[in-house]
């Protein structure tokens, strides 16, 4: 998915003050990062803000980027951290909008409808951070095992076994959701 050499060259141009060189990096990774943030947060608008903020933060912190590593691995970590920050800023209990409280069927129906809409999302959010991360990188960022390993700093073999276990746990959560 990513092109290390080209990324390094683009980052070097950015550091020389060429703003335009940042655009190809945004275009290349925005889709993957947006999907990652969305699946971490379960909220598209919040994911948009997180990805936008992560790119701006990456730009500002670019001089601290170590070119020995992949640009994607670096910005991915920023997105994950920003997603975790966004989650921690959330109020402890999600409240419903006023319009939802007065919706036909009442707030219970609104909640049931939300659950039906994205059962998988709910199941993903019930996994541990490590499990969720490896599943998201494989299935939504569509990275190879090697790329996941590089991004998470794990051996390829560890990635495979972690993914296998994470998917088993996800399957069990999905089944329990279906039974409920």
């Amino acid at each position: 998915m990513y092109d290390g050499d080209q990324d390094t060259e683009l980052v070097a141009r950015c550091l020389r003050g060429e703003v335009d060189a940042f655009e190809p990096l945004v275009l290349r990774y925005q889709r993957v990062l947006y999907n990652v943030a969305w699946r971490f947060l379960g909220d598209r608008e919040e994911a948009r803000d997180v990805v936008q903020g992560a790119f701006v933060k990456a730009w500002a912190k670019l001089p601290t980027f170590d070119p020995r590593h992949r640009f994607f691995s670096w910005i991915y970590r920023i997105v994950v951290n920003e997603s975790l920050n966004a989650r921690s800023r959330r109020p402890p209990l999600q409240t419903l909008e006023e319009s939802e409280l007065s919706a036909p069927g009442g707030p219970e129906e609104v909640l049931r409808s939300r659950e039906r809409t994205d059962c998988l999302q709910a199941a993903l959010l019930r996994l541990t951070g490590d499990d969720r991360e490896v599943i998201i990188l494989r299935h939504f960022a569509e990275l190879s095992y090697a790329e996941i390993g590089e991004t998470l700093g794990l051996a390829e073999k560890t990635v495979k076994s972690r993914l296998h276990e994470a998917r088993q746990r996800l399957g069990r959560v999905l089944q329990s959701e279906e039974i409920r």
């Binding site: 608008e45 948009r48 936008q52 088993q168 996800l170 399957g171």
Partner: protein, 472 residues
Amino acid sequence: MTDEREDERVGEDEARAVRALDAAERADPPPGLTGAVMRAVTAHGAPGRQLPGGWRVFIGRDSGLRSPGLRRHDSIRGGGMSTSKKVLLGVAAVAVIAIGYFAIKGYPPVGDGTEGTVGAAKRFQQSQITERDVILTDAQVQDVLQSDVFRALIKDSAARKALTSEGFQKALADSAVRDALGTQAVRDAFANQAVRDALGTQAVRDAFANQAVRDALGTQAARDAFASQAVRDALGTQAVRDAFASQAVRDALSTQAVRDAFANQAVRDALGSQGVRDALANQEIRDALGHQEMRALGSQEMRALGNQEMRALGNQEMRALGSQAMRDAIANQSVRDALGTQAFRDAIGNQAVRDALGTQAFRDAIGNQAVRDALGTQAMRDALSTQAVRDAIGSQAVRDAFASQAVRDAPSTQAMRDALGIQAMRDAFGSQAMRDALASQELRNAFGSQAMRDALNSQAVRDALANADQMR
């Protein structure tokens, strides 16, 4: 048995998860994300500067849209007028201005006699049904007007500007454009912020006024191209927009070869690469696209542009396309044939060859008819497919040789040109021994020697080469 059952259950769990994951939606990034980031980054200035304290708020305001969830958070954070209120006031102000504007001008503004099509309030101004009315009631256009995409378009200032431009109005009168508007691919493209931004530029508007562009829009290839995310993203870049301002590029769009090229996914993907975009930003390349020689390129060769190797071409090498020598070369059928071969593509995939392409020596060589003819031979192609030959091209000694005036002068002599054209020389390139020789350090050293260069420039060697055919 218990273990087996356990295994089976575990397998089922994973299979269930994989099925759910495969069926899950993959979302496209929201329209305008790139634009918002680039605006924020431009405003921020050079990397390394500290982000301003309220940068999150700035980004939120810039994007103009916040989720209900985020609005709740903003309210929780407190402090003065909440962002949600500011956004609401901003939206209300824009809405009032827009309603006022359209109340006066009508939406979209229409030309004389076209009221029935798009200006619902003026639909019955025409006293009699004319041929134009038939066009105006085109079901596909009506369909577009009623779509979510159109609603998104009228909320967008750049798109509004484009829709009311003379160029777009003219384009709308064209049945090919109207047909294109009816397709899902074009509608999806309009839903893309980069495309909408592009519509706001004068270059793209003028392009719509151009018959060649309008005709191109009517082709299946153009529609398929619009369905490609890479093409949509490319439309968002300044380089591609500027390219539309070039008459040469517009004319190129009218050629069958270019249209065929757009029908190819690889070419579309190539538009997404930085190298191709940089190339389009270059006036020489734009001019080259308008040349008759370039148009003579067949669809097969144009498709070569979509190869991974071709994409790796840097700015400098791509600019070589703008030289007269390269244009002449492209006008040559043997060179065109060579472009379509796997050997040539592999050669382009080699960094050494790419570096060589950027040199003046290469351009001069390509300007020579004998060299061009040689490129068309099977022997030369076979030679190019050899790693040793590619490496030789990239070696410092060979480059130095090319940089030497004596060596450069050599091909300019009739004898040398004739030599390149003779069967013996071609056979030589076809020989494994010759290829091995090219790869040898000794030969490279020889090229690095001034004496060798002088020898190449001597009349005696030239005469010898001129007589090589007879000697054989």
